[in-house]
């Protein structure tokens, strides 16, 4: 059998060696499969680990796709300096395209272009898909059957958010009926 201490060590080691964030279910059916564990107990173990690492250089955080250890926020600049070759910067055009997809997903390229007023470069769509932030989730049933794009959990993980609504500007879903929207705008502008 396994004692409490070993259990915690096992969960800790599993999260540190996993290739992607780990969910509670993955832990329960994976490394913990042979031990009688349940979600509430595992939550407790994770809480303890979070506490243990509170003052350390790395911390246990829960992101959209599970738990992972990541470096303390204030160490970013110093570490980026050491691993400088890996720090990318993203253009406003790319970020706007990404924000648009996050906000209106599932969305076609044509719809993105309509809002941004500019054609979306193939390179940007390619980069977003290569990074695993955006994927094609279907095709719109209109002539040409354009691809419908949506954001992924990897996108949420990268930008340290649990959900798109964590970005205040994008929290309000777009109104589906444009006609209704126009009316609302008119009445709103009348108010001011």
């Amino acid at each position: 059998m396994i004692n409490e201490k070993q259990l915690k060590q096992l969960v800790e080691a599993a999260i540190f060696t996993a290739e992607a964030p780990v969910t509670l279910d993955q832990l329960l059916t994976g490394v913990l499969a042979n031990f009688s564990m349940n979600k509430p107990r595992l939550r407790q173990v994770l809480d303890q680990l979070q506490e243990d690492y509170k003052e350390r250089g790395v911390q246990l955080v829960e992101v959209a796709s599970g738990f992972r250890f990541q470096t303390r926020a204030e160490l970013g600049p110093a570490l980026a300096h050491m691993w400088s070759e890996r720090a990318p910067r993203y253009s406003p055009a790319l970020l706007e395209t990404l924000a648009m997809i996050a906000w209106r997903q599932p969305v076609t390229r044509g719809e993105i272009e309509a809002v941004r007023g500019v054609s979306v470069s193939t390179q940007i769509m390619k980069t977003l898909q290569e990074r695993g932030w955006v994927k094609v989730v279907g095709h719109k049933e209109v002539p040409g059957r354009p691809a419908l794009y949506a954001t992924t959990k990897a996108f949420l993980d990268y930008f340290s958010i649990q959900s798109v609504v964590d970005i205040p500007a994008l929290a309000e879903p777009p109104e589906s009926d444009t006609r209704e929207r126009d009316n609302k705008e008119v009445s709103e502008s009348g108010h001011e």
Binding site: F16, R116, V118
Partner: protein, 288 residues
Amino acid sequence: MDNPEPTTVEAVEQGPSEQQSLPLGFVRGEPVLERPEDLYIPPEALEIMLEAFSGPMDLLLYLIRRQKMDILDLPILQITRQYMEYVELMRELKLELAADYLVMAAMLAEIKSRLLLPKAPSEDEEELDPRAELIRRLQAYEVVREGARQLDDQPQQYRDYFVASAATDARTWAEQAPPDVSLAELSLALSRVMQLVNVQAHHQIKREALSTRERMSRILEKLSQCARLDFVELFDLSEGKAGVVVSFLAILELNKEGLLVLTQAEAYSGIYISAKSEVSQPGEATLR
């Protein structure tokens, strides 16, 4: 880079006055600017500025903000004039201008002309405000632009945080579970094999309730465990007549293929079966 105004445009302007118009009025010599001393913009600066805008919507939004105007009462005449000045200047300087900027110019001109035309008598004129569509797009774009800015402010991997990982030798303990195979897959593979056989020899394959070939395997398997078997042990009466026939056919087939030996000490005594590799006892008759 998330906001073009402070980095590029203000560097170009150098003026303290916030309300001033954009210093682009010297285009075609027309004095449209309040501050003629700021007239000259180095082409490189304009090029940088152009790059700072992510597109015509971004430029338009910037112009509206500069005027401290509300998007909702879009001052279409002013905005169109300023926008056109920009576009003209870009063309004059032979900067590569994206077609999207010209599309927007055409749209603004169209709205402007519709506003200037005498209004047709209509009950719901607000519904027909030619600016409505542009206002709606500007509002949507503003959300996207702000969303992009907020996204960029979020902690980003490799910039603000790094994922921590540890090495492990646990993989050496890992056993890979074998792949799953469905009966359908196996059936498909069998069809392919049967087709190959069919091409080679025109066998008619008939369905049989019990496979003689499979029974041959079972008999050989038994023989590999004990050297000599009593003939009757190879029959399972619970299988009924068909089972007995299949077992008998299997024994004959194995005998024919030389895979087993049937021995009988004397007439009417017990028949024994052994694998061919087992050396038959001398003095015993071999049944063929």
